[in-house]
Amino acid sequence: MGSALRLSIQVTLTATIFAAVLGLILGRLLARREFLGKSLLETAVLLPLVLPPSVVGYYLLLGLGERNPLFSWTNVSLLFTWQGAAFASGVVALPLMVQASKAAIANVNPALENAARVLGAGEGEVFFRITLPLAKRGILAGVVLAAARAFGEFGATLMVAGSIPGRTQTVPLAIYDAVQAGRYGDANALVLLTTTLAFFSLLVVRQLERPRRPPNAIAPGTSPETGG
């Protein structure tokens, strides 16, 4: 049980970092730029959200199996490794991050970004000093959702990494295994843990997505200065 938790943390952390970084890049691209093939890209990114996990797992098997070019180049296979599990989890978590970042970034007034450009900011600065701070709540919500999704990934992970205790058997897989083997005590403990984690994640997301009250707001027009 302990190894399942450790593996889950490892896998979820890796998958979330992957989904967060890539998701942020894609989210910004989709929110701000127009280009040929944009809707195709968007649809492709969102596919894992809608496809059954076994289909996602199948594509990953094809992509990560021993016939793929990356393998012949490095002789490294991600199948049956926790890194493979992390990749599978990352792939299914990515659409959530992309959607959340895209919405959060699109909500930032483009005039602010333009103002920054006119004030001498390069694209990187515009993103890190203006867009990101103003979009950070939505982006953070996306990260939490992605993490929750990565933690719970079962089907694709099973196909890509198997359910090897101590190596790739994450919490969801361990629960399945425990139920199969009649070890209900273990199953109960893990189920309780997972449910609690999911519950708190959603609470956090809800908090982040709520509109913020401005701090110490003074209504315009009531300033003490004469002639406003």
């Binding site: 602010l112 103002a115 001498g120 900011a121 200065e225 002639g227």
Partner: protein
């Protein structure tokens, strides 16, 4: 560098076609026109936020933009042009204080904070430096935006509808401060507005735009008094333009318009003996019922007039009348008003010109 902006650009947005050629010297160039005429696009093109389809933009000795010529295309990025730009709605960064906003263009400058504070003081916002935009009134935000636009030390300052959300006293103060800034720093200011009063208050040169092309460009007094086309006059909404001399300045301004006396709103900036340009709003000329008492709120400037012409559509009726001083003005009212009166050409009527309907446009140059 000889400070001067020379623009000659074309841009198409679907059905909308923009083509203007302008120059701007140190001073204030007003881009005037209705919304959708292309004014903001011109500002954005100067700033480098919008790329025209064709044309050139030269500032001093530098070419900032060139496209469609045999020579290689040039498009200097906005962050290098670094014009001062006060956008509509100010675009202040909501997550930064006023000071941090003004500091932003100076963030790499070790003396940046001091410079920023100086600028804020200059626009009388020094004491509110730590406030966030949400905690500032419209006028205060406006001034922070101006300070921020000036922080980049550009000779060019672009302003897009800067006076929109402000009340009269705030507006006038800002206009005065901007004129002072312009003189102190020898700025080239390009100001976009659709309000006649603002154009007149700020502008040296006015460029009148309609549907993407220039109708007329010239010193502001010239364009007002000699609109090149009816179109220009219409765009500027000028009706009933007049020149008068100020007789007295007190609780109201007494004007002598070709021998006829008019009471206009008080204007502390005027002196007796000065010549002013003004116009009478057609909607503020009321016909007086012969048998009824007149409300004191409209009982100003009671005059006898003769109706010269009348035309009407479904909602509005427009009369052309001749006043005792032989001048002709237009009168507008809802078509259903004055139902009992016939108001045919040739008739004599009494009119009341509401004091507030006389808009003073300032001094002649």
């Amino acid at each position: 560098m000889t400070p001067r902006i020379a623009i000659d650009i074309e841009k198409n947005y679907g059905a909308f076609h923009l083509h203007v050629a302008l120059t701007a010297e140190p001073g204030v160039l007003v881009l005037f026109g209705a919304s959708g005429a292309g004014k903001t696009t011109i500002l954005n093109a100067i700033a480098g936020l919008v790329r025209p389809d064709r044309g050139t933009i030269r500032v001093g000795e530098e070419t900032w933009f060139s496209r469609g010529r045999p020579e290689p295309a040039i498009d200097v990025p906005a962050r290098i042009r670094r014009v001062g730009y006060v956008m509509q709605d100010y675009a202040l960064f909501p997550h930064m204080t006023a000071l941090e906003n003004v500091r932003f263009p100076l963030r790499r400058d070790p003396a940046g904070e001091t410079t920023a504070r100086t600028l804020l003081d200059r626009v009388s916002m020094g004491h509110l430096a730590e406030r966030r935009p949400a905690q500032l009134s419209g006028g205060q935000q406006q001034r922070v935006a101006i300070a921020r636009a000036l922080a980049g030390n550009s000779r060019v300052l672009l302003l897009d509808e800067p006076f929109g959300a402000l009340d009269a006293p705030v507006r006038e103060r800002l206009q005065r401060d901007l004129r002072l800034l312009q003189r102190a720093m020898d700025l080239i200011i390009v100001l976009v507005t659709h309000r006649l009063e603002d154009a007149f208050a700020m502008g040296d040169v006015i460029a009148v735009l309609r549907a993407g092309s220039l109708e007329q460009v010239g010193p502001i007094a010239d364009v007002f008094h000699r609109p090149a086309t009816r179109g220009v006059a219409e765009i500027m909404g000028i009706r009933n333009l007049l020149r008068a001399r100020v007789c007295a300045v007190a609780a109201t301004t007494t004007l002598d318009w070709n021998g006829m006396t008019l009471e206009a709103p008080a204007d502390p900036g005027l002196e007796a003996g000065a010549e002013v340009t003004a116009y009478v709003r057609p909607d503020d000329v009321k016909i007086v019922y012969p048998n009824r008492p007149i409300s004191p709120q409209v009982a100003h400037n009671l005059l006898e007039a003769t109706i010269l012409a009348s035309r009407q559509n479904a909602s509005v009726r427009i009369l052309r009348i001749k006043l005792p001083n032989e001048s002709e003005i237009e009168v507008r009212f809802p078509a259903l008003s004055y139902g009992e009166m016939t108001l045919e050409p040739g008739e004599t009527v009494r009119v009341a010109i509401r004091r507030e309907g006389i808009v003073l446009l300032g001094h002649l140059a």
